[in-house]
Assembly symmetry: C2
């Protein structure tokens, strides 16, 4: 089927480019040295592509992502890199421990107690390395590990997400700051013990030489977005939201891709050959750049989202394409919480 | 059930406040003089509350919203206030004409042809009144109506959305500009004929005195958001995204409400008693204001979204509350396209 027959708005994913992105990352971080983050795509079919490239461990942001991976039979060792005290969801994760090795991040006595009460067996101490979000202070990590072990939990190590450094563009400055953050994480790791020192994302994936980080939690690299594209990494855009031109005016054109099909927290999307004027709930108004012929009502236009993660979460399924042909349809099956 | 037992993040809707908002609007625009826009809530249970307040006509932005209303048996006269050339979706709308009076907006020969080919019987001419989005120029409206009638379509009148004026805060200036825009729409209506002259939104709902607009397409007034709250209308916030505190630090607190549960195009949400630092995919970092006691891990926090429409579209269901008790659960059944 040609993409011109797809119902819009819908995500379209270029399979060759996605596989090439996954291969490029696997070349740098093979096997278990990458713990791909599924929050970026929320799609077990893409996780299966990451398994095909040699990865067996995964990072998740929600219990639902873990349960969906387990239901799809994808992944052997899955980390909830986030805190929860929801007893029902923790119990569901505990039940899933018969199918996969599941590890839950904890950063407080409350989260340790909740994991233990629900029957979770493995935890990781989440350490704050500079981003004002979750994670205990490096100084608290050892005592939290002791508290977890005293409740019978296995403490597999530490994680720390240096999210505040992802978008720095000065590579030397970024490298220095990542190493500073990882010095904090290493100090915590020394107190905590365990095998795992987990960190990173697509923005810092190549910054861990000389550190003791032994797994990187990158996710966006598989599909990419306009924000990460600014970093000049060897990953190419492979996701677009396909739209249809629904109205053509003297100086602008309207497509049926809007706020409800695009993550907007990083700003407007981009459209090759057009300037983007603004997005409404179900529309984006664009104007052809010089040299771009004005499209006609019914023409298809590819929109590149500014932020891949929330964009994928807005859609129930994506179409897999090679050039302009649709070769498969993937359910975005890890949505929700 | 107490809201402290709800799985988070989730929308919670105060039923009394919602009913009070709906009653306040129905007092100004009773019955068919309001054509409530369901894109703001995407929930047929809320549309049923609007029916209970006397409205029988509805505005939709997507075919799915219409088909969902028809499936729920809510509404007698439903307008697709948006253009589409999707043959399958138009055919589904045509099939639904046996259950409700369905009218489709058109603004070009292509959209008229698509509606006619699919078996749609009723159209409205969508007229551009200043917002650079869909709608023909006022001068084209008459000839498009002629073209539609020549294909056997019934042309019920005109609509024009003055979306560029919604957020003006100077009431006199806003009134003048709305009247200017409606003069354009009236000129088109004179050329088009038909009974309907449809316009407006929550931001301009009380600006149509002295115009010939006979139905207002407001939607956000039922649930509200922080942006519309700036306009000082008699509508109160009745929707929040409920979150759980998952991490407490020296100077900040992290809740499990993030970019994937909040429409972000109008900026950050607000949290009473806290300053909002930033949102991540599954987190918002907040800091207690002076006098606000620091919450504990597990506490529930209500987050007020900046923009209600895309926020509701991110959730599969909402909980209906009275004070802190959950009294019902509503499916957000009009999502998608």
């Amino acid at each position: 089927m040609d993409i011109s027959r797809l119902p819009t708005p819908c995500p379209v994913i270029d399979l060759s480019v996605t596989r090439s992105n996954i291969a490029a990352m696997a070349a740098v971080h093979p096997g278990r040295s990458l713990r791909p983050h599924v929050k970026a795509h929320k799609c077990s079919a893409i996780a299966a592509e990451q398994v095909a490239a040699g990865h067996t461990t995964f990072t998740c942001a929600t219990p639902r992502e873990i349960l969906g991976l387990v239901a799809a039979g994808v992944g052997e060792d899955i980390l909830l890199a986030n805190e929860t005290v929801d007893p029902a969801r923790l119990a569901a994760l505990a039940d899933a421990q018969s199918s996969a090795l599941i590890t839950v991040a904890v950063d407080s006595l409350e989260t340790i107690q909740a994991a233990s009460s629900a029957g979770i067996r493995n935890v990781l101490i989440d350490v704050n390395v500079g981003l004002p979000r979750c994670g205990c202070s490096p100084e608290q990590a050892g005592s939290l590990a002791d508290a977890a072990r005293s409740l019978g939990l296995i403490v597999r190590g530490v994680m720390g997400y240096e999210g505040h450094l992802m978008m720095l563009t000065d590579r030397q400055k970024k490298q220095d700051k990542v190493h500073e953050a990882m010095t904090l994480l290493e100090r915590a790791h020394n107190d905590v013990g365990g095998d795992i020192m987990s960190a990173g994302g697509t923005g810092t994936y190549d910054m861990f030489g000389g550190t003791k980080v032994n797994e990187v939690q990158a996710g966006s690299y598989a599909l990419m977005d306009t924000q990460y594209a600014e970093l000049q990494h060897p990953f190419a855009q492979s996701l677009w939201i396909l739209g249809t031109v629904i109205s053509v005016n003297a100086s602008w054109v309207v497509i049926d891709v809007g706020l409800k099909s695009l993550g907007m927290d990083h700003g407007n999307p981009t459209v090759d050959g057009f300037s983007v004027w603004f997005c409404s709930d179900e529309h984006t108004t664009i104007a052809p750049a010089e040299g771009t012929p004005k499209p006609k009502v019914g023409d298809r236009i590819r929109v590149t989202p500014a932020h891949v993660d929330p964009t994928m979460a807005m859609h129930s399924h994506a179409y897999v394409i090679e050039n302009d042909s649709v070769i498969d349809e993937w359910t975005i099956d890890l949505r929700g919480w």
